[in-house]
Amino acid sequence: MKKLLLSLLVTTAVSYANDGYMNQIVQTHADGTTHMITPLAAAGTSYDADGVVDSSVFRLWTIRLSDNAEYLLDEKTVSSYHPQGIVKINTGDPYTLIPRTRVDQTFSIEFEVSGIVTDDPSVHDAAKSVIFDHRTTEYASGESEALPGAHWDTHDHDPIISNGTHSFNNIVTQIQAADLTQARGEEVFSIYANPDFGVGEGATLLDHKRIQIWPIASATVSGIDTSVEYTKIPQVNVNLVDLYPDSTTYIRVYEGEPSATPVSPLNINTSFVIVDDVKPVNRSYNVTSLDTRITEDGIYTMEVIHETPFGADLLYQTYPLKVERSIKVNGNVNSSE
């Protein structure tokens, strides 16, 4: 018999701990007995009332109240006699609740396996391996979760026959899309025990982790005509699409031609958009202060910069922005005498 700490599952619920969702942990015993653990706090620790005899699968579900869509957030199998597996995902984004990255960025998967029988040829085949499974799904346009019934592609489903730490480093998403820069979705990496390893029916999930993949942001700026010499710089409209969930975006202007390392760039304060969210966001707004911020005549480059945990992206660039405020007088001066 094994007492079980439920804290792992419960803390996962924190990300969904608001009025729009209801969380539920369900314990399914090896004999099929199903128990709903209630009440469920947003975070905390509790012990299984009766201990785990043989094995149990604990599933953390959440239901979105607006449309009753259900999501399986986490699943853990507790057993005293089958192998153990732990999956870890590392990305360039330090956000921890759900690992995430951008479609063009690499990430690493590490999985630790123990309990595979490697030194006894007579043991049942099921005991000699576990299964590594990797699936991906593309989110529907504008969505930040897989919709019920979404299509999943299987990219890996291979046996692992040795204990220890295994890893895949510097991999990119396997999500497929007509325009990969706009792809959004998730990848799930799982370790399963073989079906006849003694735990219930079907394969038993030992651990899984998911990573969310977000698109690359884009920007357009309208209102500047590069053929015009401005005596007063007009208002510009900035349209930002799919800003990364942890990002800062702004307009910068500098004198001269486009340069990778401009000298004395001016960051336009009123153009800053700081995002701290769980999904990409869109923003559209007007900037009216260019004329008061650029006070000297000259020829400028204007850019939209998008800073994320992965570095800075140049989303938009226009040149030349010509500013000429001095009055030119063309004509002759004649004496009236």
């Binding site: 015993h29 063009d104 990969l180 960051n267 701290d276």
Partner: protein, 185 residues
């Protein structure tokens, strides 16, 4: 879901004293790169797929069948006029005829967790707290309690440590009467 925190700084600067470009706002130049294109990302994906194909000599064949689970699909749904909740299939151990319509096939109204739903519907719900050994059918539920369900006129839900739990059919059956004469023979 976490709300977005979106800040647009509206800092209007007095520029009348500024000379040329606003030097007060100068900072170290950020080096920005053009983001990759679809073609760039597809190229990396192809390279990765080729490397994987070399490692995996045999074609991909699923070894185990991974079952899709559903919380709502594996539950019994209870509904009042405004709310609904879900309990494990097999945990509703008595349904009076006049309350059959409280068991529904589809969610109806607003979802409540079991505790809140019970608090609002004590009038037609009764809880039978049982032990895990009874849920698993190793021990019987007291027959007098089962007979009493007929007279209380409420839907009876089995719980263990206050959480609804499925009950093995054996736990509800009357104990088998042992004929002493037969056993002696």
């Amino acid at each position: 879901m976490k709300n977005s925190i979106f800040v647009v700084y509206l800092l209007l600067c007095a520029t009348s004293l500024a000379q040329s470009v606003d030097v007060s706002n100068e900072k170290k130049s950020v080096v920005a790169h053009k983001p990759p294109t679809h073609k760039d990302i597809a190229k990396i994906q192809r390279k990765q797929a080729l490397a994987k194909a070399e490692i995996r000599k045999s074609p991909l064949k699923p070894i185990v069948t991974i079952k899709k689970h559903s919380l709502i699909g594996n539950s019994t749904l209870l509904a009042s006029s405004r709310y609904w909740t879900l309990v494990p299939k097999g945990s509703v151990i008595h349904i009076p005829t006049h309350l059959k319509d409280r068991i529904v096939n589809k969610p109806k109204g607003k979802l409540l967790n079991w505790s809140d739903f019970l608090r609002k519907n004590y009038g037609w719900l009764h809880v039978q707290e049982i032990k895990m050994s009874q849920a698993k059918g190793r021990n019987k539920i007291n027959q007098k309690a089962i007979e009493a369900y007929q007279s209380i006129g409420k839907i009876v839900v089995a719980t263990c440590a206050k959480g609804p739990i499925s009950v093995a059919p054996d736990a509800l059956k009357p104990p088998t009467k042992v004929d002493i004469k037969d056993t002696k023979n």
